[in-house]
């Protein structure tokens, strides 16, 4: 059993992940208090406020992160909030912010420059986050496509963090730590974080301390948020496959351990 070719395991995983897409099943999705808090805190923002939606993730984790940004944008646009997007990721961040935001904005008939703006990317997240405290324009003289901020009507009323009501950070890396330690701690802008599952356990500490008002952890977190906003989409559809593969992996762990204990038991018997 120890010698089983790993490719058989790969094949089992592939089957477990494909089946639910061919035979979809509707699964009830329970809501954790952390996800509920995300929804509630966004709901509590006055309609029409200016908010940041931050695309701090690489294209490698779109499966987990894009459902979060998409749903957040829908949630904000539904509340007629003005959305400002930016990214601290030099690989794909600004492009994804552009594509995703445009797509969702079209659903809601929002106008670029008036209802939403994509600031794009600048190097050095600590400097970017610190610098925007005094002046967003000094760090981002233009938006992502090179239009000066002064030509964008929305940015007339947005000068620095004082004009930002909320930060919706979606991250697959440690940039969320700096949004907490720099922007939230020094400028008091309320924020929540949507993160890949890998980062979620750490961020429970920031939720407990109230530095994050809520937390979305991985695809399940995204599914919960989609459910709460009332627009089930990719993440909700993914839950079936997620369930099957988890059960498969648990079965594999159990199988591996049973084999291990049998071998150990035999060895012990032989010794006696």
């Amino acid at each position: 059993m120890e010698q089983m070719d790993r490719r058989w395991i790969y094949l089992m995983v592939a089957i477990a992940v494909i089946i639910p897409f061919i035979v979809p099943a509707e699964l009830p999705i329970s809501i954790t208090p952390e996800a509920q808090a995300v929804f509630d805190s966004v709901e509590a923002i006055p309609d029409g406020s200016n908010v940041f939606v931050v695309f701090d993730y690489y294209p490698s984790t779109i499966a987990e992160c894009e459902p979060m940004t998409t749903t957040a944008l829908r949630h904000f646009f539904r509340k007629n909030c003005n959305v400002i997007t930016l990214s601290n990721i030099p690989l794909g961040g600004p492009s994804m912010a552009e594509t995703v935001t445009r797509r969702v904005a079209e659903e809601y008939g929002k106008v670029y420059g008036e209802d939403y703006v994509n600031l794009g990317y600048k190097y050095g997240y600590v400097a970017v986050m610190t610098g925007m405290g005094s002046s967003i324009e000094s760090i981002f003289p233009t938006d992502n496509s090179g239009t000066p901020l002064s030509e964008l009507p929305l940015m007339d009323s947005v000068k620095n963090y004082d004009d930002i009501a909320f930060i919706f950070e979606v991250a697959d890396n440690a940039t969320a730590d700096y949004w907490v330690s720099i922007v939230n701690a020094q400028y008091g802008v309320p924020m929540i974080c949507g993160t890949t599952a890998v980062g979620a356990p750490k961020y429970y500490a920031f939720v407990a301390s109230g530095q994050f008002l809520g937390l979305l952890g991985g695809m399940k977190g995204a599914a919960e948020y989609e459910q709460l906003v009332g627009m089930p989409d990719e993440a909700v559809r993914g839950m079936g496959a997620q369930s099957l593969v988890h059960l498969l992996i648990i079965a594999l762990v159990a199988l591996g351990n049973i084999g291990y204990f049998i071998i150990r038991y035999k060895q012990r018997r032989e010794r006696i």
Binding site: G131, Y204, A205, A208, L248, N257
Partner: protein
């Protein structure tokens, strides 16, 4: 000269930023530090290009010396230029130039780079399953705790698993969220966060004071 100047620059710029933290933004120190942060975003931007130059150089040398697999390396260099050249040309000349939607740059990103990056990481799901089978053994008390917690969390975080947990007595999902994630895990993460913050602060202090220079490549 070769060491003193960099060390002095790190010292002055670092000290200014530390000082500015304790002053309001509209002071002289505040204004100066704001200017320096803007400068950092400019200077630092160039470091991204260093990596590009390195890649081209390394691959080019490999091609010249006909090292193993040099044919593939030609593809790498071609891909660099295919992405880079149209993006630095002015979009006023052609909609294919620049970075906007419809440009070569954006097209290559959306249709090649993005699916490739996503796939690279997706393969980890296979490896993790195989590793779970092979490597995760209850070898010791510690490993057993890790294994049990991991299994419970895996069950809890998916609908089917949660259904199974709900069949057991007691409210296990709520217990997991409140006590395991919000209790044990949170406390440990907090300890680690505090420790890591002290480590980062200590490193920064040594860089500002010029005691730590490994970043300069000084062995």
């Amino acid at each position: 000269m070769r060491t003193t100047v960099p060390v002095a620059i790190a010292f002055l710029s670092g000290l200014l930023l530390v000082t500015a933290f304790f002053f309001r933004a509209d002071t002289f120190v505040g204004g100066l530090s704001q200017e320096l942060t803007v400068w950092l975003t400019i200077v630092g931007g160039f470091t991204l290009l260093l990596g590009v130059v390195s890649i081209v150089r390394v691959n080019w040398t490999a091609i010249q010396r006909r090292k193993e697999g040099w044919g593939y390396k030609i593809l790498t260099i071609l891909a660099v230029f295919a992405m880079a050249i149209p993006s630095v040309l002015s979009p006023d000349w052609s909609p294919l130039f620049g970075r906007a939607e419809g440009s070569v740059y954006d097209w290559l990103f959306q249709n090649l780079q993005m699916p490739m990056m996503a796939t690279m990481f997706a393969t980890l799901a296979f490896y993790i399953a195989s590793a779970a089978y092979r490597a995760f053994r209850a070898r010791s008390a510690e490993a057993t705790i890790l294994l049990i917690t991991a299994t419970l969390v895996m069950l809890w975080r998916v609908p089917m698993g949660e259904y199974i947990l709900d069949q057991l007595p007691g409210d296990i999902p709520a217990f997991l969220n409140t006590y395991v994630m919000g209790g044990f895990n949170m406390a440990v993460q907090r300890g680690i966060i505090i420790g890591a913050a002290l480590g980062a602060a200590s490193m920064s202090l040594r860089i500002i004071l010029g005691i730590e220079r490994t970043y300069m490549g000084k062995g």
